[in-house]
């Protein structure tokens, strides 16, 4: 202390107070930036050319954060193509998820009694709570897209080839971590959407032979999802998966830097890898060029995300989870639609005629214990990831040129198309032309589901509250309810929807009977609370008996459907 004090006094005496403060501040700043003075940083941010000798290399050898990043990039990798910045964006969204996630963690309790009310609390009582939740949710969805695109890009440019096979392998692990993070986070709001999407997801594990029930029990903590399952998914979501993610990001990025960003395929001789041998005139220094670009990308991505969440995007929150009530048309999260579509295969070999297929199924079930659900959901589904992992090790072609990789690129495109097809099959409406994957009950129930779904909002519920005039209305093209144009419009929509279902059969071959009529009843139950009932009378197309289908919902003035 005394020595510093003496030095300080001496410095002040010789140079004056002002110069001493400036000198000391600059020293502190230089320690913080691992070797750059304020003047250097200013030069970087202004885009000044580097002085010689270049002080901007020093942070790469002295500091932790900059030593992770390369000192220079090859000029050819700095335009949008070939990387499209997708790897960088993946890491950025991972960071955004961690930051917003920690904020949400403060207000969240992972127990069935408290979880849903935590969500309501975050939305209604926490400043920026809803904003953070929207950012977290939208960021997660975008992250899945970005990570997938990153993989598609790497495949297309052949960047997975020697020497980057292991980089690709860790990348597939990171894809699985991303999906796992997104999926485990899905359960936490503890609403109907969460509960049933995750029930579908985990019940696939249950079907697996030998280990399936054990894995399922480990995940759920009980035969059904309850307090144990919620806590386990929470711990997966906030501890285990982020930890695995961080470790694999570290390995992945180390490999990226070790081998360099792969050059555009057309720039390299076949079978060689020149990414590390950058001639001096092709070098683009990290400081200032790459750094300022990245700062811009961060700013743009965060701004788009934030503006979206402040305006049009709000994370869904349905009613409290209820194990006793399964809403119609329950689906897995969209990035698992393909798996759900895969599970809809009813036969071991789907292309055979039904009679032969049944025999084949029976043979496999009796001899090998292999049912279609096990084959398609448990064996083929996870096999997709294994296939992705081994792609670089089984692809014999050394060339990265597009023209010389016709087979692999075609296979890749076919794989992508298959995943898209299966994803379409995963949603209740099925694939448009083939009808594969269609899930639907009686046409009358589908009409009601369309306009008044079990969960979420339908056209009937979106009618402004003051236009829900109490009364009973036949569904018709021109109901003519006074002062209720929206109500009239919905009645008209229902009418035409029913007409459509009368003339064209659904993929199960079922039509709404010609004599079907529907009516909508609106009753006032309480001040500000109305009951909406839709009832459809029709003749059942299978039994020929008259049937009545009714469905009702309560709607409150302030509920904002």
């Amino acid at each position: 202390m005394a020595i510093i004090g003496k030095r300080l006094v001496k410095q002040v005496k010789t140079t004056g107070v002002k110069a001493t403060i400036a000198q000391r501040a600059d020293d502190a700043f230089t320690r913080f930036t691992s070797g750059l003075t304020w003047g250097d940083v200013r030069g970087v941010l202004r885009g000044d050319p580097a002085p010689r000798p270049n002080p901007r290399v020093k942070p790469h050898t002295e500091g932790f954060w900059f030593h992770i990043r390369p000192t220079f990039y090859h000029e050819a990798t700095t335009s949008l193509y070939p990387t499209f910045r997708l790897g960088f964006l993946s890491a950025l969204f991972f960071a955004i998820e961690i930051i917003t996630g920690v904020y949400l963690m403060i207000f969240y309790t992972p127990s069935p009694e408290r979880a849903y009310s935590s969500m309501i609390d975050i939305i209604t009582n926490v400043p920026f709570g809803m904003f953070m939740r929207d950012l977290h949710r939208l960021g997660a969805e975008v992250m899945v897209i970005v990570v997938t695109l990153h993989m598609v890009r790497t495949f297309t440019t052949g960047s997975y080839k020697k020497p980057r096979q292991f980089t690709w392998f860790t990348g597939v692990v990171l894809l699985m971590v991303t999906l796992g993070l997104s999926f485990s986070g899905y359960l936490l709001p503890w609403d109907q959407l969460a509960f049933w999407a995750v029930t579908i997801g985990t019940s696939m594990a249950d079907a697996a032979p030998v280990l399936g029930p054990t894995v399922n029990l480990l995940l759920r903590g009980a035969p059904d999802i309850g307090a144990g399952g919620l806590l386990r998914f929470y711990l997966l979501h906030v501890v285990l998966l982020p930890l695995i993610g961080i470790i694999f990001v570290a390995v992945h990025y180390y490999k990226v830097v070790r081998w360099g960003l792969s050059l555009p395929p057309e720039m390299e001789p076949v079978g060689e890898d020149n990414a590390r041998k950058v001639p001096p005139e092709k070098r683009v220094n990290f400081l200032p060029d790459i750094a300022t670009n990245e700062i811009m990308y961060i700013a743009i991505a965060v701004a788009i995300l934030a503006v979206s969440c402040a305006t049009w995007y709000h994370a869904p929150l349905e009613t409290h989870s209820n194990p006793l009530v399964t809403p119609n048309h329950t689906v897995a999260p969209w990035y698992f639609y393909w798996l759900q579509g895969l599970l809809k295969n009813t036969h071991i070999i789907p292309i055979l005629p039904t009679d032969i297929s049944t025999v084949v199924d029976r043979f496999f079930a009796n001899v090998l214990g292999l049912t279609p659900k096990i084959l398609w959901g448990i064996i083929i589904g996870p096999l997709v990831f294994v296939l992705l992992m081994v792609v670089p090790y089984i692809d014999p072609n050394p060339s990265r040129r597009y023209g010389q990789r016709k087979i692999m690129l075609t296979l890749g495109a076919l794989f992508g198309a298959l995943i898209l097809y299966l994803s379409l099959a995963g949603i209740p409406t099925g694939v448009p032309v083939t009808g594969f994957g269609y899930v639907g009950g009686a046409p009358a129930a589908e009409v009601a589901q369309e306009f008044m779904p079990d969960e979420g909002d339908g056209a009937l519920m979106n009618i402004p509250f003051d236009q829900m005039v109490v009364g009973e209305y036949q569904v018709s093209p021109d109901a003519g309810v006074a002062n209720a144009p929206d109500l009239n419009a919905v009645l008209k929509e229902i009418y035409y929807d029913m007409q459509r279902r009368m003339t064209s059969a659904d993929p199960n071959g079922r039509k709404l009977s010609q004599d079907a009529v529907a009516k909508v009843q609106i009753a006032q139950i309480q001040p500000d609370l109305k009951e909406l009932t839709i009832s459809i009378s029709y003749t059942d197309d299978q039994t020929g008996t008259p049937q009545l289908y009714t469905k009702f919902k309560f709607l409150h003035k302030n509920a904002d459907h």
Partner: protein, 306 residues
């Protein structure tokens, strides 16, 4: 193609980076400002109202499934089953969020907490028969912690739904609980059933009628019409004009009851616990499934209920 090439090989100049970056930072900050200012002024309150409203909707569903059969769909109470919940005596009155009339019921029973607490406590934990001692029906314990089937959040929803009546509680046509210590008057002395009627009562229980119909002290079904006084009601119905214009052919109360069992769609009774009765709900095949003797006894039993 050249446009695509231009886009993918595009490298933003330093100036462009600064411009894009600044625009983005301004965009981000204004998004934060919009959200923050909204939260400060009224957005959180609006969200609160929205989710409270959704709670009331959920509560209405639970009420219609679990509570309406005894307290009535409009909460006005059903004699012998459950007292009114939408009456001013039970709820007091609220105007613009301020309580203008206190709940007389809470004062009478000496409940020191608030109305919400009372509703939730009774819904969750129930009331034993001996402490309510008014009617022959106990209040069941609905809370999962007390052996029922409702979660805590559902009980909170139901309570919000019931309190939603406080803006405009009913003052007439309600069946309130009597004050503690006051009985409802002398209980009617039960007329003993004849052996035939006794057999009819057994048939009523045996053929599943209890699932939909209520008879005071016997069954609590809440789908079809209440049959507690069907003997008297039947005699009344067959004299009505809308019965005569229907397909019904009965001329006595017993014939009407018989007809209602074997061909229920001949005439649709007007009043069911949850509103107007609907055709096609009651099974059409009792003529085949109930033996003739049981049917005769059943009609005799029902006709005796007056």
């Amino acid at each position: 193609m050249s446009i695509i090439k231009k886009i993918v090989t595009f490298k933003p100049s330093f100036t462009l980076r600064v411009i894009f970056g600044l625009i983005s930072v301004v965009g981000f900050l204004s998004a934060c400002a919009i959200v923050g200012l909204g939260d400060l002024s009224r957005a959180l309150g609006a969200q609160d109202a929205k989710y409270q409203a959704r709670s009331i909707e959920d509560g209405a569903l639970v009420y219609s499934q679990q509570c309406a059969r005894c307290h009535g769909p409009d909460g006005k109470g059903i004699a012998g089953q459950g007292p009114a919940l939408s009456s001013i005596t039970f709820l007091g009155k609220v105007e613009n969020g301020i309580e203008v009339t206190k709940s007389q019921r809470l004062i009478d029973i000496g409940w020191v907490g608030n109305l919400d607490g009372y509703i939730r406590a009774v819904t969750a934990a129930g009331i034993p028969l001996k402490s309510s001692n008014v009617w022959d029906v106990t209040h069941p314990a609905f809370g999962q912690s007390y052996g029922g089937n409702l979660r805590d959040d559902q009980i909170a929803d139901v309570s919000l739904f019931i309190q939603n009546w406080r803006q405009a509680p009913y003052t007439e046509g309600v069946i309130d609980s009597p004050k503690p210590g006051e009985a409802l008057g002398p209980k009617p002395t039960a007329v003993p059933l004849s052996p035939e009627q006794e057999a009819g009562k057994a048939a009523f229980l045996k053929y599943g009628c209890t699932a939909c119909h209520a008879i005071k002290g016997v069954a609590q079904g809440a789908v079809g019409p209440n049959l507690s006084t069907i003997g008297a009601d039947a005699a009344n119905i067959i004299t009505q004009a809308d019965y005569k214009s229907s397909q019904g052919k009965a001329t006595t109360a017993s014939e009407y009851i018989h007809e209602s069992i074997v061909s229920p769609n001949a005439y649709i009774a007007p009043k069911c616990p949850t509103g107007a009765c609907v055709a096609g709900i009651m099974p059409q095949n009792f003529a085949q499934t109930i033996p003739a003797t049981d049917l005769t006894n059943l009609v005799a039993y029902l006709a005796s209920l007056k």
